[in-house]
């Protein structure tokens, strides 16, 4: 009978083999430890602004009216840091539509009449596939209009009020004109309209999206690397290492255990690389939540390791395993929210996401690092992840025994 100590020594020997193999393969080292923080930086740069002010809308502008005020508006839009406005040439409505249709602009603005005119002097052109673009363009134009052309806003308001007041006296009309002239020469420094804005949390934390993508990239790469590592089981079958060990006392069990330990450790190191980057670049408070972060990370890495070993071990050939691993890595990542944010998905897809480890990992990290709660939801996530990992490990062990036949 083999003692527990011997079994541990065997698993450690296997862990050492995998560590040596990784250290001696530079390409794999880069893939494993440099790629995750890099991909995290790319994703977070893309999505950090996806829900906030940081979006710089690209606006195609055509000033068809060519009145003094419309020219002022077009110039103010061009200067505004809130929007990337660009006057199209020729300045026609068709040119604007063409820009938007081809995707060279997010939205278009046609100034068809003097901005102070009653009625609707502006047309917003937007692609229905970009639902956010139209209201955002409208809001930006209104923002620029009220801050750079307050006189025009005043004149429009006065024009609307006039019928209700039963017409303006000469003196009142003069006062309005002089007020408008004053506003035109010295516009107020700020006009935030009706709204004051408060951010829900300290801006330093970089927001939930950063925590989201740190988690999303961590589990994506943990599973990817675990799958690559688990494919070693196939290599061991092919080269006869499995035959050699199955003729011995211990069989393939210690190999599976050793791989599990190594792959879990590898996932932990990857997570350190990703979250260290998140803390350094975006100020995500990882160190402030080290305990729960570590448990989440170990659960996530163990889940990836167990899942990968279980899946690879049920395959008969390396080709099968490779295909399954590609499928699992891509599909689980897509459904689970490692590629596109879950909050942008339709509800049924968000529901489906709970069948992937990705969704659990992402939610757990967000709860801990952003929402600042380590309650029931997080414990549930830890339980689900650990259960998936252990189930995979159990399958791999059962398959290793069946391999004897």
């Amino acid at each position: 009978m083999i003692s527990l100590g011997q079994r541990i020594a065997m698993a450690v020997a296997m862990t050492r083999v995998m560590a040596l193999e990784l250290v001696r393969d530079r390409a794999a080292l880069v893939m494993t430890f440099l790629l995750p923080p890099l991909v995290f930086l790319i994703f977070s740069s893309v999505f950090a602004g996806a829900t906030g002010d940081a979006i710089q809308l690209k606006l195609a502008v055509a000033d068809v009216a060519r009145t003094p005020d419309s020219i002022r508006l077009a110039q103010a839009l061009a200067k505004s840091p809130e929007v990337r406005a660009e006057q199209v040439a020729p300045a026609t409505a068709d040119a604007v539509r063409e820009r938007v249709k081809s995707g060279r602009a997010d939205a278009g603005l046609i100034i068809r009449a003097d901005p102070a005119d009653s009625g609707k002097p502006f047309v917003i052109v937007a692609d229905p596939a970009r639902a956010v673009a139209a209201p955002l363009a409208q809001a930006r134009v209104q923002q620029v209009l009220s801050s750079a052309l307050p006189d025009v806003a005043l004149r429009r308001t006065v024009a609307k009020l006039e019928p209700a007041l039963g017409g303006l006296s000469e003196e009142q009309a003069e006062n309005a004109d002089s007020a408008a002239a004053f506003l035109r020469t010295s516009p107020p420094k700020t006009d935030d309209g009706f709204f004051d804005r408060q951010d829900v949390r300290d801006a330093r934390t970089g927001g939930g999206v950063i925590a989201y993508y740190a988690g999303a990239v961590m589990i994506l790469f943990a599973l990817f690397s675990a799958m690559q590592g688990a494919l070693g089981l196939m290599e061991e079958r092919r080269t006869g290492v499995a035959d050699r060990l199955l003729a011995g006392v211990a069989g393939m069990g210690p190999v599976v255990s050793g791989k599990f330990v190594f792959l879990t450790g590898q996932g932990l190191v990857q997570a350190v690389a990703v979250f260290a980057t998140a803390q350094a670049v975006y100020g995500v408070a990882v160190l402030g939540h080290l305990g729960p972060w570590l448990v989440t990370t170990l659960a996530a890495a163990g889940c990836a390791a167990g899942l990968a070993l279980g899946l690879v071990s049920v395959c008969r050939t390396r080709e099968q395993a490779q295909m399954l691993s590609t499928f699992v890595i891509l599909v689980l990542a897509a459904i689970g929210g490692s590629m596109a944010p879950r909050f942008l998905m339709p509800p049924w897809l968000q529901g489906l996401g709970w069948f992937t480890p990705h969704a659990w990992v992402i939610e757990a990290y967000q709860d801990i690092l952003w929402r600042d709660v380590a309650g029931l939801a997080v414990y549930k996530a830890w339980g689900v992840l650990a259960a998936i990992g252990l189930a995979g490990l159990a399958v791999a062990h059962v398959q290793a025994r069946r391999l004897r036949r």
Binding site: M1, I2, Q6, A9, M10, V12, A13, M14, R16, V17, L20, E21, R24, D25, R238, T239, G240, V241, D243, R244, L245, L246, A247, G248, V249, A250, G251, P254, V255, R404, R405
Partner: protein
């Protein structure tokens, strides 16, 4: 089980996929003995080895390894080492690192690890390559490292599956030397091979497996003497390929083509005298040979007979 034998296979039967693979195979192996298991592909050699390793439980009969059933008693496999046909090692690890790994996986205690690795390196004569990665070694060194990893835990029975497939003559010699050295230490060795010359040179006993039955078994010299008596093998090496008429002429002399191109052979009790007469007749027939050799029959001759079913009949 004969006292002192390490392995006893008695009356083992096994069927797979509807057909019999092993049909009452017997085999016994004592310490310090080299046994070569021969047979064409599909004869059941791999299945027999898997049965001995405890991976297949026979339908009938019994396998006893160190007196216990290896498929039910894992401890009985502690004294077994398997050298797979492929290089079953981790290619990026050095020889020493591989040996340390397989020592740990075979349950060699930490305290004995260094000595065990040194011993395996010495017995397989690869100390000078100990710290090189496997993938940088020549085929011969890889083969010897493959053997070293299987005997790191000092097994009493070593099974080698085609130990010299795909290596050059020098490397084969080196592997043979290692195998003899292990035999001299008292290790029982069971090897499968297609290399009949190697079996002839190395094995104390050979067994021909044919269609799941042990068709012939014994000491090589005795088996050859029994099968061929005083007959010698006459080999005719032709200068060039011959046409249909030429082939008929050669066949008329009792010659048969061999696996070597341009070489035809026959067995003749009259050896050298027959060769002289044969040479004259062939020259007269316009089939002048480049060379005629006379030699004692080998396992290859016996193997051909067994494979064709003559010896078994």
């Amino acid at each position: 089980m004969t006292p002192g034998s390490i392995l006893t296979v008695s009356g083992v039967t096994y069927a797979y996929g509807g057909g019999p693979v092993l049909q009452g195979v017997n085999l016994e192996l004592a310490p310090g003995e080299i046994y070569a298991l021969l047979g064409p592909n599909g004869a059941g050699k791999t299945t027999l080895i898997r049965t001995i390793c405890g991976r297949i439980r026979p339908d009938g009969g019994q396998v006893l390894l160190e007196g216990a059933d290896p498929s039910r008693v894992p401890a009985s496999r502690a004294g077994l080492g398997l050298v797979p046909q492929e290089i079953a090692l981790y290619p990026t690890l050095t020889v020493r690192e591989n040996l340390q790994t397989f020592a740990a996986l075979a349950g060699v205690p930490r305290a004995r690890m260094t000595a065990a690795v040194a011993r395996a390196l010495e017995l397989t004569r690869i100390e000078d390559r100990a710290d090189q990665p496997i993938r940088h070694l020549s085929g011969g060194y890889q083969r010897r490292a493959n053997i070293a990893a299987a005997m790191i835990h000092e097994p009493r029975l070593l099974i080698l599956d085609e130990p010299t497939v795909g290596v050059d003559i020098d490397a084969r010699e080196a592997v043979d030397t290692v195998i003899r050295g292990l035999r001299d230490l008292g290790v029982a060795i069971l090897m499968t091979t297609h290399d009949l010359e190697q079996a002839d040179a190395l094995a104390d006993r050979v067994g021909f497996l044919r269609a799941g039955r042990m068709a012939l078994e014994g000491r090589p010299k005795a088996l050859i003497a029994e099968a061929f008596g005083e007959k010698m093998e006459v080999l005719v090496h032709l200068v060039r390929e011959v046409d249909e008429a030429g082939r008929a002429g050669l066949a008329g002399e009792g010659l048969e083509p061999t696996r070597t191109p341009l070489v035809w052979a026959r067995l003749d009790a009259d050896g050298y005298a027959a060769a002289g007469a044969l040479d004259r007749r062939l020259r007269q027939a316009g089939l002048a040979p480049k060379e005629i050799r006379v030699r004692e029959p080998s396992l290859a001759n016996l193997f051909s007979r067994v494979a064709e079913g003559e010896a078994a009949a």
